[in-house]
Structure formats: C-alpha cells, structure tokens
C-alpha cells in the first residue's frame, strides 16, 4: 500500500531539527521519502517567517544539496570508472553531516536539563530587600566622582537606539548558482532540445554544486508540470522531456525564489 509520507514540523527549528526529527523520531529512511516533500515542508516553514532568514535558507540549501547528492549516488547509473576521490568526498560530507546532527542532539538533550533546573529554580524567589534604612546613612555615597556631565552622557547612552541586528551574508558571496537561475537556463534550453538526458544536460558543468542545483531545478520544473521525467531502466539515464509551451516566459514560474541562496 503506497502511503505518501507527510512531513510534519509543528515546532520546526531549522534543518537539523527537521532531519533529526525525520531520522530519529519518525525512523524514516531518507532515501525512501521524497526530497520534494521535505523541501515543501521546509518552504512552508520559511513562509511562516516574517522575514526571509538567509542563514536558515542557505543552511537548508546546503543540507538539501548534500541529501540530493547522496540520493543521486543511488539513482544515477553507475560508472565503471567512478572517481574514488569523489566517492570519499561524499563519505566525508555525510560523516560531517552526521557529526553536526549528533552535536545538535547532544545540546538539545542538555537543554532539557537546563529547562528542568530553571523550572525548579523559579519556585524559589530570592530575598532582595537589602539594607534597613538605619544603615542607609552609613552606606557609601554611590555618586562619588559622578558629575552632571556623567549624568548627561549616561542619558545619551541610554537613549541612543540600539544597533539593529544585521544578517551577515558574507558567507554566501561565492555561491554562484541559484535554483531560480538554473530553472531559467533550463527553460531556455529544454524547449529546443525536446528530450534530453540529465547526463547530457550537466556534462558541461564542473562544480558539483552546480549539478546538484540543476537537479533541484529539474525537480522544480517537474513539480510545476513543465517537464516529464523518464527513467526507462533502473540506473539508466534520466530523460527529461519538455511538455510546457514552446514559448515559455520564465516570469510565469511560481515559487522558486525561496531556494535562492
């Protein structure tokens, strides 16, 4: 009985949370659920945010890319002359991801203890009454060495607007590819090609990330009904068939922007 898996993230807290939830609590094998569904659940959460959080979005893209890559390894036809370096690199990335997930889980569990301590501690209120007035007169004058100018500068300090937090985007300056751009490229190329293999579509690309992003773009176009996908044989090439209008305006493409790094 085929049952689509629904990703539920009621109190979602970032990609690690989502992954931990999926793998540990739901005992889901990530290879057997649709990446598109995780993406969807994620996008829903991102839309709930008041402002787009670049850190969260890019972090997600990174993890999604790793997952896609892991999936591709199982999906794409095997190469006799498979590059062992690539192979090791993939293992490394996977291990890195697992290490980060373990770290995240460690502190999640530690936080529960802090929560318990906190809940216990708030049951007691500290005595803060301080000195009886009879000792006040011998208490040292706290204003020693403070003059009117100090009061004025303290006032100005207090009234100066606090700096607004800015989200740093330094770390993403070298991400040259976005899913939106990849979609636009595909929309330009695919109607002319009619039917093409994914291998062919990516043969000119060098960077792994670019290939991953192209794969995401293909999934996106499939989701929106502009292409059909066919894989005639297990591990065979994936074929992409353009079924949209031959004169398609990329502006009509809906809802891909959120992927953008």
């Amino acid at each position: 009985m085929a049952m689509p898996y629904e990703v539920q993230t009621p109190i979602y807290e970032g990609p690690f949370d989502l992954l931990l939830h999926l793998i540990l609590r739901e005992q889901v094998d990530l290879y057997e659920i649709s990446l598109a569904r995780i993406v969807d659940a994620y996008l829903v959460e991102i839309e709930k945010m008041d402002e787009l959080d670049l850190d969260v979005t890019t972090e997600f893209l990174l993890i999604a890319a790793t997952l896609v890559e892991l999936k591709c390894k199982r999906l794409l036809p095997e190469d006799a002359d498979i590059d062992l370096d690539d192979e090791f690199a993939l293992w490394e990335e996977r291990d890195l991801l697992i290490a980060r997930l373990l770290d995240c889980k460690t502190f999640k569990d530690a936080a529960q203890v802090l929560g318990f301590l906190f809940d216990t501690a708030v049951l007691s209120a500290p005595r803060r009454a301080g000195l009886d007035e009879r000792f006040m007169e011998i208490a040292p004058d706290l204003l020693v060495g403070i003059d009117l100018q100090d009061i004025k500068s303290a006032y100005l300090r207090a009234m100066t607007p606090r700096p607004k937090p800015v989200v740093s985007i330094d770390h993403i300056h070298n991400v040259r590819v976005s899913v939106t751009e990849a979609c636009e490229e595909l929309i330009d190329e695919l109607p002319r090609m009619g039917r093409v293999t994914f291998r062919r579509l990516t043969e000119s690309l060098v960077e792994r990330l670019e290939i991953v992003v192209r794969f995401l773009a293909v999934l996106e176009l499939f989701k929106q009904g502009y292409v059909e996908l066919d894989q005639p044989r297990a591990f065979g090439d994936i074929e992409i068939i353009w079924v949209g209008s031959p004169t398609f305006d990329p502006a009509d493409l809906a809802g891909v922007d959120s992927y953008e790094g």
Partner: protein, 216 residues
C-alpha cells in the same frame, strides 16, 4: 561562640540583596572560609529541620535566603517581576551551548544549532544570562560569549560544575546507527558493470523519489 557567629552570618545575609560569597563573609566575621561555609550549612539544616517557609542556599557562588519552593503558589501571587517568564526551547538550547562551550562566538553557536541565532542570543544577553567574556583574537574579532552569575542564580546552581557533564548527553550508539542508516551512502561498485535486475528492488525508483510514495 559558634552561636554568636551564626547570628552574625544570619544578620549579614539577611540584609544582602544578592548572593554573598563565603570569602566576603569570612572577611567581615574574621572567620575562615571553611568555617563560614560550615556554619551556614548548619543554619540551612536548622531551617530545614524547623520546616521554615524560607531556605538558606548556596547559589551562583554565594549564600542567600529564598522562599521555599513548596510555597511558590503564595509567592507567585505576590512577586510578579517577570523573572519567572518561561525560556523558549531555542533559548534553553542556546544557553546550554554557551554554558558548555564557553567562550563561544555567535557563528559557532549557529553552526551547532543549524539556524541563525542572532535573535535568541540577543534575548538571553538582554536578560543578563550571557555576556561578552572575550574577543576572538582572529580577524573580525568576533565577540565570545560566556554565562554570567545571573545565569547560575536563575538556574539555582552554585557553579558551572553543578551541571551534569556534557558527556552524559552524547548520543548513544543506537542514535549514531540510526543516523548512519538514515543517511547511508550505498554505492556498489560492480566490476561487471551495472544493470542487474536483481538489485533493482532495493533501490528507490525515480517515481519514489519524486512523489514520496513508499511501498513498504
């Protein structure tokens, strides 16, 4: 003599508005630090034996009087200073990371939590639970955070060493295994080259990947 010194300690701690360190109490009473701690421990035991509605406790490196936890329903009706406002799960996790890994930068916290932490760091910093303790000597001079005495006070603990060891929380082999299984890399290099019908069932088809159908 001990009785007289206990009375002195009771009087001083009573008028303090924050936890008093044993060292300071020792200086005022001209007793040894160990003696001070011993006397205060005796006092705390007396109050407990007499089932007082208050306690003498050691918190954040000092001694203070506080209401007994089982009287919180009454005290809550009276004290409404917002101090007991709940901490969010995100705030607790961030506090846990700072508590165990201090000094630590915002970026390092974010790397562990996998999300942007600017907002939550600001919140717990404003509450006074964490503060800047140093600057990263590297380029950028990132602010490094650590927990404050207010954090210890709020958690009701005397020092960071009262927290359970972080090793206690490192996930067990079962979790590691589950993660490895969930994220396994399964590339079989077949020298005779691919296409064996036999293994096809083990692998997800493109359809599975796209619509998430999981025939199990």
């Amino acid at each position: 003599m001990s009785v007289e010194m206990k009375r002195a300690l009771e009087a001083i701690v009573m008028v303090a508005d924050s936890p008093l360190e044993s060292e300071m109490l020792a200086e005022i009473t001209e007793l040894g630090v160990d003696k001070v701690d011993a006397l205060l421990t005796e006092l705390a035991a007396e109050y407990a034996a007499q089932v007082r509605g208050f306690q003498l406790v050691r918190v954040a490196g000092g001694w203070r009087y506080q209401s007994h936890p089982d009287q919180s329903p009454y005290v809550e009706r009276f004290v409404l200073d917002g101090q007991s406002a709940k901490l969010s799960a995100a705030a607790l996790e961030t506090l846990a990371i700072v508590a165990y890994k201090q000094p630590i930068s915002r970026a390092q916290i974010a790397a562990i939590r996998g999300v942007s932490v600017d907002g939550v760091v600001r919140t717990i910093e404003q509450r006074g639970y964490i503060g800047e303790v140093a600057r990263d000597p590297g380029p950028g001079q990132a602010v490094l955070f650590g927990t404050t005495p207010a954090f210890l006070e709020r958690m009701g603990i005397d020092s960071l060493s009262d927290l359970p060891a972080i090793a206690d929380f490192v996930p067990g082999a079962d979790v590691v295994e589950a993660l490895e299984h969930g994220l396994r890399v399964e590339v079989v290099i077949d020298p005779t080259l691919a296409g064996s019908e036999t293994s096809a069932d083990d692998r997800p088809s493109l359809g599975d990947l796209l619509d998430g159908d999981q025939s199990a």
